[in-house]
């Protein structure tokens, strides 16, 4: 109990004095009223007397007190509207930018920008930003969180969250008067009026050291992940990634070239078992599969391929895809690649397949030509992996046709086709 209370101590609850309220400067007065109704009436009188720096404190929002105190309507709804509008615009723009502009996303050929499908998310972002604005806006406008307030020094003030109805007037109000203000509060029916003092000197309001230490330590601790990330981004490391979730990066499987102790030969790769042939891999027909006829290169064609116009056209088509890049469309060895090598200052010539003066290709039997396509020749690689057997034979047929046509004379042309034709100058290569 101190001498600053204007009334006998409240017998209810913890009415054991006013704690520290006698130290320091006068911050303001706290008057207690018995009922919400009396608080409203007191607030009206205080406002009518011209006070502005006052506030009422109650365990719940008292009906009618806004009007009695003359509280202006808060601007919060306007802010929330702006927040919500930003949410709508932001939500629409986000979806448009991601799915229609930055990476137009084709889903079943539908338009990349189809608003009805974008409505739900725009709606949710609207609500989300409006909620954020109303929640955080309310606390900011209320100047909360606020760790401390001078009124908390008053014992009765701690009952506000229970059953007390208080009216506080701050001493800085220009109408504040040490005599008249308490009288006004009394006349309005106050049960008691307390002075509340505080020490305005900030040096006395120090934060406890352990709180400071905690804040510094936790801030430093929180920076560690960022520091590690920053270091990782700016430096090189020969260590493999640290896999928190290895997913399928390391699978329990054996690759073909790996060593494996399970087998005697220490190889993971298992060859064919001796004396067996895989299904569909017998390839017993020497002519068709290898171009051999009784151990010699065959000079004919496999019997299962009738020499038709269709086979010739197929051969031309395959030749132009697989062979012409080096050998050229006419087989003279001046394809796109040798030309490009020449353009780059190098010299590299593919075999001239049709050269009668150096008839390497012309003198090869069909079977050897087939084998060359399959397995390669000098620096040419084999095309067995790319070209099926029948297509290789079709190419052989077409190469024969090229060799003949590129070395043809007028006599080779049937008489009824000769009229109007002129032989070009014979190639000199």
């Amino acid at each position: 109990m101190t001498d600053t209370t204007h009334e006998p101590v409240h017998p209810d609850g913890n009415g054991n004095g006013n704690g520290h309220s006698d130290a320091g400067e006068l911050y303001g007065l706290l008057a207690e009223y018995d009922t919400p109704g009396e608080l409203v009436e007191a607030a009206r009188k205080v406002r009518d007397a011209g006070y502005t720096e006052f506030d009422c404190y109650s365990p719940f929002p008292v009906h009618g007190i806004d009007e009695a105190m003359g509280i202006k309507r808060t601007i919060l709804p306007v802010l929330v509207f702006c927040g919500g509008a930003a949410g709508t615009v932001g939500g629409v723009l986000l979806q448009w930018w991601c799915n229609a502009y930055n990476w137009p996303w084709n889903i079943s050929g539908k338009p990349t920008w189809s608003q009805p499908a974008n409505l739900p998310i725009a709606f949710e972002t609207t609500i989300l930003l409006a909620v954020f604005t109303s929640f955080f806006g309310m606390w900011i406008l209320n100047k909360l969180p606020q760790v401390w307030h001078p009124f908390f020094r008053n014992d009765r003030f701690n009952q506000v969250t229970d059953d007390a109805f208080l009216l506080g007037i701050e001493a800085r109000d220009r109408r504040f008067d040490a005599e008249a203000t308490p009288r006004l509060l009394k006349d309005a029916g106050a049960l008691r009026v307390d002075d509340v003092h505080y020490d305005p000197d900030p040096s006395t309001a120090r934060m406890p050291k352990w709180i400071t230490a905690f804040i510094v330590a936790s801030t430093a601790f929180a920076l560690i992940p960022f520091a590690i990330a920053a270091k990782a981004r700016t430096s090189h490391s020969s260590e493999p990634h640290f896999h928190i979730f290895p997913d399928m990066d390391f699978q329990p499987k054996i690759k073909s070239d790996q060593a494996l102790d399970l087998f005697d030969d220490g190889r993971a790769n298992r060859g064919e078992i001796g004396g067996t042939v895989a299904r569909g891999s017998l390839n017993a027909d020497d002519v068709f599969y290898r171009g051999l006829d009784n151990g010699q290169w065959t000079t004919g064609y496999p019997k299962q391929l009738p020499l038709t116009d269709q086979l010739m056209k197929r051969g031309r088509n395959r030749f132009e895809i697989y062979c012409s890049p080096c050998h050229g469309y006419d087989g003279r060895g001046a394809g796109a690649i040798p030309q490009r090598v020449a353009a780059g200052g190098g010299a590299w010539q593919a075999r001239n397949l049709v050269d009668a003066s150096n008839p390497v290709a012309i003198s090869m039997p069909n079977g050897q030509l087939f084998n060359t396509i399959s397995n390669g020749y000098n620096t040419m690689m084999g095309y067995a992996a790319q070209i099926p057997y029948a297509d290789r034979w079709a190419i052989v047929l077409y190469v024969r046709a090229l060799q003949r046509s590129q070395n043809a004379s007028l006599d080779d042309i049937p008489a009824d086709h000769r009229s109007g034709m002129q032989m070009p100058e014979a190639p000199t290569k």
């Binding site: 979806q95 499908a117 506000v160 229970d162 005599e179 049960l191 979730f245």
Partner: protein, 461 residues
Amino acid sequence: MSTADATAESHPEAAGKAREAFRAITRDVAWVAEAPKPHKAWVAVLGIALALFAVGIYSIYVLVTTGIGVWGNSNTVDWAWDITNFVWWIGIGHAGTLISAVLFLTRQTWRVSINRSAEAMTIFAVMCAGLFPLLHTGRPWFAWWMIPHPNDMQMWPQFRSPLMWDVFAVSTYATTSILFWFMGLVPDLATFRDRSAARGDTIRAIIYGALSLGWRGSARQWHRYERAYLILAGLATPLVFSVHSVVSFDFATSQLPGWHTTIFPPYFVAGAIFSGFAMVFTLLIPARHLFNLKHIIKDEHVEAACKIMLGTGMMVGLAYATEFFIAWYSGNLFEGFAFINRAFGPFWWAYFLMVGCNVIVPQAFWFKKVRRAPVIIFVLCILINVGMWFERFVIIATSLARTFLPAQWSYYSPTRYDIGLFVGTIGLFFTLFLLFFRYAPVIAISEVKGAMPEAHAGKKH
């Protein structure tokens, strides 16, 4: 100063009747948290809940380290218990928002006794719900890929997918629910702060003090607070309807007979409210008994909730009937088959459990005697929860098990990990709810006070 005078005789004990009533509310609510030892039943139930939660943790461990294959999901029934549980939990959460927001906007003052625990229930239910789609992705550590962010893969989320709508709807809903709940808690946490300080319990005073943000109960603060509360209620109301509509779009926008129906959004929302109310009272009927809160959560409040369950139960029944009617009226062969299969196919037992629990059971609420008998209500609420779980199961599993091609047809049975995870979320839910009941203001103290007749004491008009 010398103002001691006239008001000396207005002694608080003589005049303080209204304040006595306010004090009683504070005391009765704070008692739950301030009791030095928790109730034996509380400890026992918490033990059970933690054991169930441990089962869930183990199931998640096996699931994450092995893969989705440990579940009963198959190529045919690729959504099963996981999505059933997701929709069930989300639906339960919706009653909390309905009670806190929709009933606030419609000025149903009886809500103040139950809104806090219903909001807490919402948050815990959404937490349980969120686990299922997260784990169903198979690689939950990549869940952040669903947040649109610039990345080396040059990939953006597909915003026209209902599953992406789900991500936005559910995360907005969870955020809003948490903020709304916390905002409502602040004045009551301030009450706890002041009571802890008065009792000399410094640790609690610091914790509650930090959480209550220095709340002073000032009229200027209350003014903005009430505005913000009204706005949040106004925002949460369309939100809650949108969330379950979006959840229903996951099904309704597909081409599957039994899913592809326009009735889904309203039907899902009604079902959500229905199941949510059932869950609120599954929790509150024992709680108000254990913690002597019957004079705050009154019989009238329970009765009002029974009427809501009766109403929403009949809406759900109407939806079941409408689905059958449309299946016949549309003349669509596949649609017709889907619904005949639903009632008489391999999952017929689930269908009849659903109809029995959701349509027939709530009919008991027509009788006032039932609406006033807490034990019966408790049992009926549990049955409704079972029925609503089966509703989602029936929609998901029966539709997927019998799609267009008979070659794809199959049956679904859960594995122990399906069951373990579901049981685990029930454990998580009850663990969180029990902790909340012990350490936070379980009743919105300031709102109850504001809704009492004493709140108008001393007014001249």
